[in-house]
């Protein structure tokens, strides 16, 4: 396709995670589109695209910064809406860290299913396609537009293979819900697997924990989809240590790290917390020497390229581009 033809990739970045957008753009060999995002004095968000998007294939990258979830979400919706009114051919929302992902069921009387609301809102704003990372399968079905749910797993597998002898490792799921994710990694690495059962009286509060499996003299690798206040991970790490693990580290897709997460981590027995850069980490890497970051942007960039060219994305489910 010649450069003059319309329907090129237009990469638009929200304000929540410009570093990730830059990395994706660099990988794709394009520039991030010029835009202006700002807040009025009454904090209403205003957004303008600085270049034509008519008939272009628009990809909007917006993560959600910890603490500013609604700000990021509203900005994303406004960005989608602006591109829609500016006659973009297709609008793909690239949301590495899907907001409200945990509020996906009516677990109490009259509890809102906010994840479904967000899905509906994105479609109402005009998104034609969603690209995200490690979203629960149940939430993918909230959408009536195509959703490409990418996995951090290939990146994790590579990280483990590059840094440890796989036969020394045991993959541990910190809760029953994550058992499938952990067994999948254990199968790929051909290692042992363990599980921690926990009682959770309230969200973000961790109860008693019981280890199922053997971690003695092994490197225990906890695997989860998000680390928020890190209470679960730290307690799980303590349980693993008590059960004779040589060292404990955690591999987590979304490092939300809200509240006192950094302090909790610093004072824990956890040797390292490895996260991807789906969530902007700000100064947390400096504040927490245990925090290590895997760059997910090659996977996202490749997904964007393949989506744009109409190629299959399934390759990315098992391979992490370098």
């Amino acid at each position: 396709m010649s450069a003059e033809m319309a329907n090129e990739i237009k990469l638009i970045s929200g304000r929540s995670h410009p570093e990730l957008s830059e990395k994706i753009a660099k990988r794709l060999g394009i520039e991030v589109a010029r835009t202006i995002s700002l807040n009025y004095s009454n904090q209403e968000t205003s957004f303008t695209v600085g270049e034509s998007v008519r008939d272009e294939d628009v990809f909007i990258v917006q993560s959600t910064a910890t603490g500013d979830v609604n700000e990021g979400l509203m900005e994303l919706l406004i960005m989608i809406s602006a591109c829609r009114t500016a006659s973009a051919r297709r609008i793909t929302a690239v949301i590495p860290n899907f907001p409200y992902a945990r509020q996906d069921k009516k677990d109490k009387s009259r509890a809102p299913i906010s994840a479904r609301l967000v899905a509906n809102m994105l479609q109402t704003a005009g998104a034609n396609h969603i690209v995200t990372v490690d979203l629960h399968a149940s939430q993918v079905s909230f959408f009536s537009v195509p959703v490409d749910n990418l996995y951090a797993e290939p990146s994790f597998l590579r990280y483990i293979r590059e840094n440890f002898k796989t036969e020394d490792c045991v993959i541990v799921s910190p809760d029953a819900g994550g058992a499938k994710r952990a067994t999948s990694i254990a199968d790929h690495l051909n290692t042992a697997f363990a599980l921690i059962h926990k009682e959770r009286p309230r969200p973000n509060v961790v109860g008693r924990m019981v280890l199922v499996g053997n971690v003695e003299d092994k490197i225990a690798i906890l695997v989860d989809d998000m680390a928020d206040t890190c209470g679960t991970l730290v307690k799980a790490a303590a349980v693993l240590k008590e059960n004779g693990a040589k060292s404990v580290l955690a591999l987590v897709t979304h490092g939300i790290l809200s509240g006192n997460a950094i302090e909790t981590l610093n004072s824990s027995v956890l040797e390292a917390l490895v996260v991807t850069n789906t969530v902007p980490l700000g100064d947390k890497v400096e504040r927490c020497p245990k925090l290590r970051v895997i760059d997910i942007s090659p996977t996202l960039a490749e997904a964007i390229r393949r989506t744009h060219n109409g190629e299959s994305v399934s390759y990315l489910f098992n391979h992490a581009p370098v």
Partner: protein, 504 residues
């Protein structure tokens, strides 16, 4: 009321409590918190099954959180099998972004309407939408209530000699709203309009265009030049424009009044004895407000086509960095571009449209209220000097400057300074429905000597800290209006009486 629940969003529990008091019921119980990662959590603590649910939410400093909370509350009530969910939004967020102001900008108000629809709202009650066309954004019915009767009643009861007051619009876009209030109170009407001053040869006089649509008097051009000359030469004595302008104006007025068009319009009951204020003027402006709207938007084109002409009672002033300056103030626009203040003002950076086009309203075609309070932005730009024009006689009178919301102080202060320093008004009331008061707006208006009183309703919450230090601030209570709207909605009664003025 049986079968009704009123929930309060976190932005306006006080207003909701007042509404509930009016309805003789208690606010329904809901727990509104945030998770530690910033996601909004809503728990509806009472059964909503088959209930008529009203969710009251206004604006706040964290407007996007407020909106998400509203949407999640609506969604939760819908999921809890509520019969009908009504969103009561005394202040409609994003209502100023109701059209594409710049290329590829978003129509966020429409987006918000769609989002509320998808969340499950079945009816919307709001107050004084910035642009009434926004009602069309919704698939569900919208009741756009008016605070005007409330404000009019307050004026009749609290403004001394209100019968002699003049209602002034601080920009051309808001004239419709202002004429409506002037009509209700049977008051005279004036207007302040600002123009970018691009060079010394240009004499912007927007109102002039509306008056010379049919015939042109080349003589008057000479007069207007004369006015300009006298104004400039007399600039030492502080306030020359009105004095010298007046003597010249009377000639102009005689001429203009001779035109048959104006005589046709010139029927007005109030102030027949006042020679200096031929009521025909106000009436003319009033009846042509829509023309003015369009002219404002196409001002640039018109300047090329029409001759400049000064109408009677037109007072000009110079506006530098948002303040009216004496005529001998060193001009930045006329001489070298920006010698006076090279420093970049952050206020000027606060609007997207100013980045992409010199005419932010070039695309806005509605000619309705849309523009008002949008044109604030380059008032503070030190590089641009504005010509501010006051139309109408406000000398020794009380002036009521009216718009739909007070967010940024710039245009209010500029208008107040113009009517006081140039028009020699006696007192200035700044009146608006929504007291948004972004940033240090309230402090700045409080500090402005030309503003005597600021009147808003409680549609938008005003923090106690701010209100405590603002002795000029008067807050009118909307809760009765909203409660009545809720009651009438629930019982299926007509809303029309709420729009009528009650004389007392």
């Amino acid at each position: 009321m049986r079968g009704t629940l009123v929930f309060a969003g976190s932005s306006c529990p006080e207003l909701t409590d007042k509404i509930c008091q009016n309805l003789g019921m208690a606010r329904a119980d809901a727990e509104l918190t945030q998770f530690s990662n910033g996601e909004t959590s809503v728990r509806i603590l009472t059964s909503v099954r088959e209930k008529d649910v009203f969710v009251v939410q206004s604006g706040s400093d964290k407007i996007n959180d407020t909106i998400m909370e509203l949407l999640i509350m609506i969604s939760a009530c819908k999921g809890g099998s509520a019969n009908k969910i009504t969103a009561v939004l005394p202040y409609f967020p994003y209502s100023r972004q109701s059209k594409k102001k710049s290329h590829r900008g978003a129509i966020t108000a429409r987006l918000l309407a769609n989002l509320m629809d998808v969340a499950g709202v079945k009816h919307v009650v709001t107050v004084d939408l910035h642009a009434s066309q926004m009602q069309g954004f919704f698939k569900c019915p919208v009741d756009n209530l008016h605070a005007e009767p409330l404000i009019a009643r307050w004026i009749r009861r609290n403004v001394p000699e209100w019968q002699e007051a003049v209602v002034v619009s601080k920009n051309a876009g808001g004239t419709k709203r202002v004429t409506s209030l002037a009509d209700a109170l049977k008051l005279n009407f004036g207007m302040v309009t600002t123009d970018k001053r691009r060079g010394p040869s240009m004499a912007p006089s927007v109102i002039g265009y509306s008056l010379d649509g049919l015939e042109r008097h080349p003589v008057l051009d000479a007069i207007s030049n004369q006015v300009r000359n006298t104004t400039l030469s007399d600039s030492e004595n502080g306030n020359p424009a009105t004095n010298n302008g007046r003597s010249q104006d009377s000639r102009a007025a005689a001429d203009v009044q001779g035109s048959p068009r104006l005589r046709a319009n010139g029927t007005h009951s109030r102030n027949p004895a006042n020679h200096k204020t031929p009521p025909s003027r106000s009436q003319t402006i009033l009846s042509q407000s829509s023309v003015i709207d369009e002219l404002d938007e196409e001002a640039e084109a018109d300047e090329l086509e029409y001759n400049d002409r000064r109408a009677h009672e037109v007072t000009h002033g110079r506006l530098v960095q948002g303040h009216v300056v004496p005529d001998d103030f060193p001009s930045s626009a006329a001489s070298v571009a920006d010698t006076s203040v090279p420093e970049e003002d952050p206020m000027a950076m606060s609007h997207a449209s100013s980045f992409f086009g010199p005419q932010p309203h070039a695309l806005g075609g509605s000619g309705d209220a849309g523009e008002s309070s949008d044109e604030e932005d380059d008032l503070r730009n030190p590089k641009v000097e504005h010509m501010i024009t006051l139309v109408g006689d406000v000398k020794d009178r009380t002036v009521l400057i009216v718009d739909d919301m007070i967010d940024k102080p710039g245009s209010w202060i500029a208008a107040a300074e113009t009517v006081v320093k140039r028009g020699r008004a006696k007192k200035v009331y700044c009146i608006a429905t929504h007291g948004v008061f972004g940033g240090d707006c309230l402090e700045q208006m409080q500090a402005c000597d030309c503003i005597d009183t600021i009147v808003v309703t409680n549609s938008h919450p005003i923090s106690e800290d701010k209100a405590r230090n603002a002795s000029k601030l008067v807050v009118l209570d909307l809760s009765f209006l909203l409660a009545e709207a809720i009651r009438r909605n629930h019982y299926g009664e007509s809303m029309s009486p709420l729009f009528q003025h009650v004389m007392d």
